[in-house]
């Protein structure tokens, strides 16, 4: 199990246990993290699972692929550390990953 911590826009903090191999979005939806609605269910089609990665995790999480980056260009509240959480795969190395939901 990998622990992921979400800070939500309403000031909440959600600690979620995620299975390796699942996506960060799936873990968030399963735990009902507000603000991650994931309308398309992980098809990388909608940008409704947008998160900001805490700076210290950036390198391990990596940069978005082209299609994801293009969707992010038009998402609300994008920043330099924006990612779509359906495209981040949970792995042991990400234990403790800190994200915020814009």
């Amino acid at each position: 199990m990998t622990r992921i911590v979400f800070a939500t826009a309403d000031g909440g903090r959600h600690e979620v246990e995620a299975d390796a191999g699942a996506s960060v979005m799936e873990a968030a939806v399963g735990a009902g993290v507000p603000g991650i609605t994931a309308d398309c269910g992980g098809a990388c089609s909608c940008a409704t699972c947008h998160v900001h990665v805490d700076a210290q995790w950036l390198e391990r999480v990596g940069a978005p692929e082209e299609h994801e980056a293009a969707l992010l260009e038009f998402a609300d509240n994008v920043g330099p550390f924006s990612r779509l959480s359906c495209q981040i795969q949970v792995s042991d190395e990400l234990d403790g990953l800190a994200l915020s939901v814009p």
């Binding site: 799936e26 939806v29 399963g30 009902g32 507000p34 609605t37 309308d39 398309c40 269910g41 992980g42 098809a43 990388c44 089609s45 909608c46 940008a47 299609h67 293009a70 969707l71 260009e73 038009f74 998402a75």
Partner: protein, 418 residues
């Protein structure tokens, strides 16, 4: 809103995408009363889109289909009654009757019964090997027959038919798509998009029979073996997938006397003609404020939007702002994203070129974008959504110039009329 939310009772009929989403949305909006989610199928709410795409190809496991983990509902205090069918509504007494004889009283009722595949009104439609695709049970049957060399005849060149054709080819099966119209996606897409998908599928070995009426399905020993066309030709096959559209499950609502017009008629709070009863998802006919008409949308984003509308109304929140309808389809390596509806469009402009596998078709009405179909073109899709919502005229020369970033097109459209 009268009464505290702890003593009001919500019953949701239909535990599909819309039903599952609205239950969770009510909790997110702080609704604390009892919620019962009644579903005919054996599974907790799940996603249907992967049933013709990643799941069918074997690229996504069954555990990824569930909308939320199965234990979510108990944890959120949502009673799940699976394998139970609502058989009647008592509007006077505000109660729902289930097939097992139990009766559930409600203060607010949400109908989320979805739609079911249209069947073919031809002889032989009941033969073994004639399949449809809506549920996990349907998808299991389809997956069980798809194997290398199987000859699959697909009746209907719409999104589900084409996605299944792509998945069938991926699994090594032969696929022939039989379509009544003279082009694919005739009812929903522009000719350029139809042509792109015809070429793409043909290059991957899918055969097409266009402009063809189906007279009968023929069989031997009860098993389908051919599709007889009205021109006398017979397409030999081992299985048939019928993908000719869906019809709303609105019988329960009709029997209860709710206003229906091929779909339960609702307003922008998802309320039916009975103020205590809401309806959401594929079974509804809803207003589309951006287009000034009503429509029956069959998409996940619509199910989610209407779920939000109903949950907001029940919890006394203001109605959420209307969204631009959208949809997606994955076939081979091509991601199609569609926003808006080409209602009364008078112009179609292509940005990019189909040959490159990356382009978008913009549908305009009086100079403003009303719909966009984007193939591997996420910027065009996202920008298209903004342009549609703004309803402002767009600079046509910029729109078709791939040298001008979509961000700029959006900015200058906003400036023109600001």
């Amino acid at each position: 809103m009268s009464g505290s939310s702890t003593d009001r009772r919500v019953v949701i009929v239909g535990a599909g995408h819309a039903g599952g989403a609205v239950a969770a949305q009510l909790r997110q909006f702080g609704f604390a009363g009892p919620i019962t989610l009644v579903g005919e199928e054996a599974y907790p709410p799940y996603q249907r889109p992967p049933l013709s795409k990643a799941w069918l190809k074997g690229e996504a496991g069954s555990e990824t289909l569930l909308l939320r983990p199965a234990d979510y509902y108990a944890g959120a205090g949502i009673e799940l009654r699976l394998g139970a069918t609502a058989t009647a509504l008592d509007r006077e007494g505000r109660a729902v009757q289930l097939s097992d004889g139990s009766v559930y009283p409600y203060d607010s009722l949400i109908l989320a019964c979805g739609a079911r595949p249209r069947t073919l009104p031809v002889p032989g439609a009941g033969l073994d090997g004639v399949l449809a695709l809506r549920s996990i049970a349907d998808a299991d049957r389809l997956k069980a027959v798809l194997r290398p060399g199987l000859r699959l005849a697909i009746i209907g060149g719409g999104y589900i038919g084409l996605e299944v054709a792509a998945s069938a080819r991926h699994l090594g099966a032969e696929a022939t798509v039989i379509e009544r119209e003279s082009r694919l996606l005739a009812r929903v897409a522009c000719p350029e998009l139809s042509a792109f998908y015809a070429d793409t599928h043909t290059a991957r070995g899918v055969r097409f029979v266009l402009g063809a009426g189906v007279e009968a399905l023929t069989g031997t020993a009860g098993q389908v073996c051919g599709v007889a066309l009205s021109d006398g030709n017979v397409i030999a096959c081992d299985a048939v997938l019928v993908g000719v559209g869906a019809q709303p499950n609105d019988e329960l609502a009709q029997a209860a006397g709710l206003a229906c017009d091929s779909g339960v008629v609702v307003d922008l709070e998802a309320r039916t003609s009975d103020p205590a009863i809401f309806a959401i998802g594929d079974m509804t006919r809803r207003p589309l404020p951006l287009y000034g008409c009503t429509w029956r949308l069959e998409s996940v984003p619509n199910a989610l939007e209407q779920g939000k509308q109903a949950a907001a109304a029940i919890t006394g929140r203001p109605a959420p702002a209307p969204e631009v309808p959208w949809f997606w389809s994955d076939q081979y390596e091509f991601k199609l994203q569609i926003a808006g509806l080409p209602i009364a469009a008078d112009q179609v402009l292509i940005r990019g070129n189909a040959g490159s596998g990356r382009f978008a078709a913009f549908h305009l009405r009086s100079g403003a974008v009303v719909a966009v179909e984007a193939v591997n073109a996420p910027q065009e899709f996202m920008a298209g959504k903004l342009l549609i919502a703004s309803q402002k005229p767009v600079d046509v020369a910029q729109l078709v110039d791939t040298g001008v970033p979509m961000k700029e097109v959006v900015a200058s459209s906003a400036a023109v009329c600001a």
